[in-house]
């Protein structure tokens, strides 16, 4: 006992280091699932408490800074609502007409998708990781692999995908994360590529494996290709910022600015489509 008191600094350092190493090692071993489960159960109340404090601070702060802005937004929203009410009616007619025409030429009806709104509970508070925690989980039917979208004004674009689900919360991996890989293509030229987060700039993404022969210019729109089984085809991703070509490669890299700004994100929608189990198995994703 005297030894522990006398060398408490070294003993504490040793214990803390061992704890961290064991935790890190377990995460990368087969025990990860159960350890993560126990860890989640312990830290979940803290995360909720943290969210309450954060939300309180946000409201307090917003009271000073956002009141005028909210008034202006309310007026704009009322005007938009009036416009949209008319548009919704028109849309229903077009949808009906489209279904009739599809039926006439013998095309399969297009599968629509349901989505549920979710609020962001927390974002990673450090500069290293970019996960988002949202307030919808397995209780709401959310499953691993479901795509997440959001709106920038009237434009709907992808945010990321669900990578972890608990009872009332889910973890979302955004497209700007270097862990995220998604199949995309150029909207005009239809050249496909593989998109990941761009490590040199946290707000951008890069697309690899785009053929050098593809004619791409800054401002071109990038959409999801539907390949990979996660995102439905045709969802907007972002605009091309620049192209990088290497003489030795038959491909070019394209840097993309996502339509949805990760830092401004507050509300998202989870698309309730399940990933094909075979693809899920191939990617090794588990709930």
């Amino acid at each position: 006992m005297d030894f522990i008191v006398r060398f408490k600094t070294v003993v504490a350092l040793f214990c803390f280091t061992i704890f961290c190493i064991v935790s890190l090692a377990l995460k990368s071993s087969t025990f990860s699932l159960s350890f993560t489960g126990v860890g989640s159960a312990i830290i979940s109340p803290f995360q909720k408490g943290y969210h309450s404090i954060e939300h309180g601070v946000h409201l307090f702060w917003a009271g000073f800074t956002e009141l005028g802005e909210v008034r202006k937004e309310l007026e704009q929203a009322q005007m938009r609502l009036q416009k949209l009410e008319g548009a919704a009616e028109e849309m229903a007619q077009i949808k009906n007409e489209n279904a009739q025409l599809r039926n006439l030429i013998g095309m399969k009806p297009k599968v629509g998708y349901e989505s549920i709104p979710a609020t962001i509970i927390s974002k990673d508070p450090d500069n290293w990781f970019r996960n988002i925690l949202v307030n919808r989980g397995s209780d709401d039917g959310v499953k691993v692999g479901m795509p997440v979208i959001s709106y920038n004004g009237d434009i709907k674009a992808i945010v990321g995908k669900v990578v972890g689900v608990r009872g009332s919360v889910s973890r979302v991996l955004p497209i700007v994360s270097s862990d995220m890989k998604s199949g995309v293509m150029m909207q005009d030229s239809r050249y496909p590529g593989l998109m990941t987060g761009y490590s040199a700039n946290a707000a951008l993404c890069k697309i690899d494996y785009i053929s050098r022969s593809a004619q791409i210019k800054p401002g071109d729109m990038v959409i999801t290709s539907g390949q990979g089984g996660i995102f439905p085809q045709g969802l907007l991703v972002g605009n091309v910022v620049k192209m990088i070509s290497h003489k030795t490669s038959s491909f070019q890299q394209v840097i993309v600015k996502p339509i949805i700004d990760y830092d401004q994100l507050e509300q998202v929608f989870i698309i309730m489509t399940e990933t094909d189990p075979a693809i899920k198995e191939l990617l090794g994703e588990t709930e």
């Binding site: 935790s23 890190l24 508070p125 450090d126 500069n127 996960n131 830092d263």
Partner: protein, 166 residues
Amino acid sequence: MILAYIYTGAIIALSLVIQGNDSFDVIKVAGVKPDLLFIAIVYFGYTFGSFYGEVTGFIGGIFHDSISSYILGILTLPKVLIGFAIGFISRSLLRQNPLTVFILVFGASVVKGLITLMLCFAFHDAYISDIISIIIPESFYNAVLAPFIFMLFDKLYDHVIDRSGY
């Protein structure tokens, strides 16, 4: 002494709220926010010794890891090691003045960043370019803020705790 723990707890909570809350995104420079929790840990190690530094590093790091929802330990271990090392070396080598604090926090932030980068390589995913895009800007930002934060903490802890050292 209880007051000191309350202050420390409040500082940890406030640092995490500032780092995680979107309302404080205005403090982002070159795409990064300062690691206020880390500045506090360096202060505790520097002023009160290795034990206080590493314990604050561990508790703060665990909370930081919890809300990061990543691997428990990846942000804690660098903070524990730096909390210990700062207390061990700085009291005997350096006297507190703004320039010293700037250099100390900049150096400590770079080392912390490099340890995190190595852990990311081993257990997650990382790129060498993170040195330019994350480590250097964050270290510089931490170092610029540190002299002011140290001054503030000095005033706060002036009457509540004895400076023990290692």
